[in-house]
């Protein structure tokens, strides 16, 4: 058994301590954080200001348009963001995050628009002025636009803009005129537009979930959706990437003809165990790397309590289960074929295990203790992914007997799968030529 760590270390070293892995799995994610800070700032530098004159033809909305433009209509993006941030719990927004968010939304266009009234008869002349860039736009409002009623087809306006005007600038002009029309209509009824806007703002809720054993906990709606997805993808990425490394490294050893040399020194089981363990550490590096980034982000948002230590322990336990299931399948498939192309047809079972959780993610997140979740929690290849979704999604804790039961069933299935796959591996590594059928691989299990 002392040979297994030697194989494992080589596998780890030649996967994780390579330039490709360090650049792809460590440096790139680390670079993403400063990029998130720097990129919005760069975007804001590139936004072209919207300046010039807009001529309004038709019902008079000039005053409202000028007011809105003067109030820098484009700040509404930031306002919307602030409203969204307000939905978050107390302390959720730290200064760093707020700065990041503001820089992203603060890249709004600088606005310096003047408005003039125009006559319909001079429309063609004004279009020419727009073409020659002397005017930014001409807006023609339908006559009945300020008296809206159900079925009123006059609730429209036309905008003529110069060639080359950006979609962003056009959107700003559209929004500005729309809001000016609405504001003019409201003011005409004698109401104050600002008061109406304040009244129309939807109230926000603070949900408290009453727990079974007494007490209550704050319900974070956004976290309820995001955290299970993040956890499941974390395990998915770590498992899939290492399973893939295992598949390709096994195929490489076969195609390089180094396999028989290795088998002269170690048993096929030792070789497979060493390779799986080595890649397990690679997978763990990926998990810790990305998981650590996620946790760091939660700490930065003062939301670390959303991921208690028990959840992390369960994540690691279910990750191990998922990894060993996928890895043993990948190793046995890799042993049976001579190139990656041949592996595609045999890799179906592993891909099914990986794809099903993606399909089931939504319904299980919505009803983590529902019938679908309960049933699929006991199907061995799906156990780790479904249980990760459940333990992280559920406001009501998953019953402890279900956690313990799925851990026992899952790890029992891991032992059976590793045994079956090692039987296939031991025969497959010595096979050359055309790839076997799944039926032949099952027959290999019975070979002495």
């Amino acid at each position: 058994m002392k040979k297994i760590p030697i194989v494992a270390w080589r596998e780890f070293k030649h996967t994780a301590l390579t330039k490709a892995f360090i650049i792809g799995s460590i440096i790139v994610p680390v670079l993403i954080i400063p990029l998130l800070i720097v990129l919005p700032a760069l975007f804001s530098q590139d936004v072209e200001p919207l300046k010039g004159t807009v001529v309004l033809i038709g019902p008079d909305v000039l005053e409202a348009a000028e007011e809105l433009a003067a109030a820098d209509r484009t700040n509404s993006g930031q306002e919307a963001l602030e409203q969204t941030l307000e939905q978050l719990p107390e302390g959720a927004v730290d200064p760093v995050s707020k700065h990041m968010a503001s820089s992203m939304m603060g890249s709004d266009t600088e606005l310096d628009l003047a408005f003039e009234r125009g006559e319909y008869d001079a429309l063609e002349d004004m279009k020419e002025l727009v073409r020659s860039h002397e005017l930014t736009a001409v807006v023609v409002l339908q006559d009945g636009i300020l008296q809206p009623s159900p079925g009123n087809e006059a609730n429209r306006f036309e905008v003529f803009v110069r060639p080359g005007l950006s979609a962003r600038h056009l959107e700003i002009i559209d929004d500005l005129i729309s809001d000016a029309v609405v504001e003019t209509r409201v003011v005409a009824t004698g109401m104050k537009f600002e008061e109406l806007r304040t009244m129309m703002r939807a109230p926000r809720s603070d949900t408290m979930r009453l727990q079974e054993g007494g007490g209550e906990a704050i319900e974070y709606e956004w976290a309820k959706r995001l955290i299970p997805m993040a956890f499941m993808f974390l395990v998915w990425i770590a498992t899939f990437s290492s399973g893939n490394y295992l598949l390709t490294s096994t195929i490489e050893e076969k195609s390089n003809k180094v396999m028989e040399v290795l088998l002269s020194a170690v048993s096929p089981f030792q070789l497979m165990a060493g390779k799986i363990l080595g890649q397990a550490f690679v997978s763990l590096v990926t998990l810790v790397m990305y998981g650590g980034l996620g946790l760091a982000a939660l700490f930065a948002l003062s939301q670390a309590d959303l991921v208690p230590i028990s959840m992390i322990i369960l994540l690691l336990l279910y990750f191990g289960m998922a990894y060993f299931m996928i890895a043993s399948i990948m190793a046995s498939v890799g042993s049976a074929v001579s190139d990656l192309h041949d592996a595609q047809s045999l890799i179906g079972p592993a891909m099914m295990i990986l794809i099903l959780p993606l399909i089931l993610w939504m319904p299980i997140s919505e009803a983590p203790n529902g019938m679908l979740a309960m049933v699929t929690s006991w199907v061995p290849p799906l156990i780790p992914f479904i249980m990760i979704l459940r333990v992280t999604a559920s406001g009501d804790p998953v019953p402890i007997w279900q956690i313990l039961g799925t851990l026992i069933v899952g790890y029992g299935a891991v032992i059976v799968m590793v045994w079956f796959c090692s039987r296939i591996f031991r025969v497959g590594v010595l096979m050359q030529g055309k790839p076997p059928s799944p039926l032949q691989m099952i027959k290999w299990i019975r070979y002495k």
Binding site: K3, I6, V7, R10, H14, E253, N256, K257, V258, M259, E260, V261, L262, L263, S264, A265, V266, S267, P268, R426, L430, Q432, K443, Y447, K448
Partner: protein, 316 residues
């Protein structure tokens, strides 16, 4: 040759599906011997070697290696398989240390042994090179070093000379003889039979999973009577008359015309007839080569009849 067998197979059988790869095979390889393990393609050589290496296990029968089970003896065996290769991106030194450690060596011992053998095999500056940077012949030598690094008591070499130029083949030949002289048992599998003839002191020949020859080289030479006369006439390339007792002649050989005798004919009698028929520059009774014995034995099994030489001492 010592009495203690290094490898002992008793009634070993191995079947893959419907294919019977090894049938009831029993054999002994004695300590310190250099055995040629021969057979046509698909004869069961690789399967037998893999069972000795405990890469696969027999369906029936027992295998003892170095006085122990095949699995327990794994670290005392050096194996150069026919299907061999290297990790392309790994450095030569790193690869040798890795294989050495897998064979139970301490890292420090593996490093010093690798250095010694790289020098001995005339590869002094390749330690830091990646395996893919080496020529085929150099890779071949690195693979050979990997099989002997841990000073095995039993060395199994499958086609060790393939890919080597004559100079390196001679170097390898010398090393193999040295290792054998140190008392290590060596099994040498090849299709180049004259190499086996030159190198080995005994031969094991199997076909269709069964042993058809197991003897020392001297024993084989005695068993297979010389039945070919090589004659070089003084004038021309033909004998003037047909010689009684000659079954057929083959093309001009290295030492003249080759005349193959009829069964039970006395070679001395036929040689006298040749000398009486014409003047000759040279005449000699040639021993059968291992190639000829191999072809004859395998062909005879295929046709289940013996038409030429009559071998003795063949176990079936």
């Amino acid at each position: 040759m010592g009495a203690e067998p290094t490898i002992s197979l008793r009634n070993v059988n191995k079947q893959f599906g419907d294919v019977h790869a090894v049938r009831d095979l029993s054999l002994d390889v004695h300590k310190g011997s250099l055995v040629g393990f021969l057979g046509p393609n698909g004869a069961g050589k690789s399967t037998t070697i893999r069972m000795v290496m405990s890469i696969i296990y027999p369906d029936k029968g027992t295998i003892d290696v170095l006085g122990d089970s095949a699995l327990a003896a794994k670290d005392r065996i050096g194996y150069l398989p026919e299907e061999r290769g290297l990790y392309r991106k790994m450095r030569v030194g790193e690869y040798l240390h890795y294989i050495g450690k897998l064979k139970g060596m301490l890292r420090s011992n593996a490093i010093s042994a690798a250095k010694y053998w790289l020098d001995r095999m005339e590869l002094p500056k390749v330690n830091r090179k990646r395996c893919e940077e080496l020529s085929k012949g150099m890779q071949q030598k690195v693979q050979f070093i990997a099989s002997i690094l841990h000073e095995p008591d039993l060395l199994i070499l499958d086609e060790p000379f393939s890919g080597l130029d004559p100079v390196n083949a001679e170097l390898l030949n010398e090393v193999i003889r040295d290792l054998n002289a140190q008392g290590r048992t060596i099994i040498f599998s090849t299709h180049v039979l004259h190499q086996a003839e030159q190198l080995c002191d005994s031969i094991l020949l199997i076909d269709q999973g069964e042993k058809i020859l197991d003897d020392t080289m001297d024993g084989i030479r005695q068993t297979f009577d010389p039945r070919t006369i090589e004659v070089e006439p003084t004038i021309g390339n033909e004998l003037p008359v047909a010689i009684e007792g000659v079954a057929h002649r083959s093309n001009q050989g290295e030492h003249g015309i080759e005349l193959h005798l009829e069964p039970d004919r006395d070679p001395q009698d036929v040689m006298k007839r040749i000398l009486a028929s014409c003047p000759v520059r040279s005449i000699r009774l040639r021993r059968p080569t291992l190639d000829e014995i191999f072809v004859m034995l395998v062909r005879d099994r295929m046709h289940e009849t013996h038409t030429d030489l009559v071998p003795g001492g063949i176990e079936s």
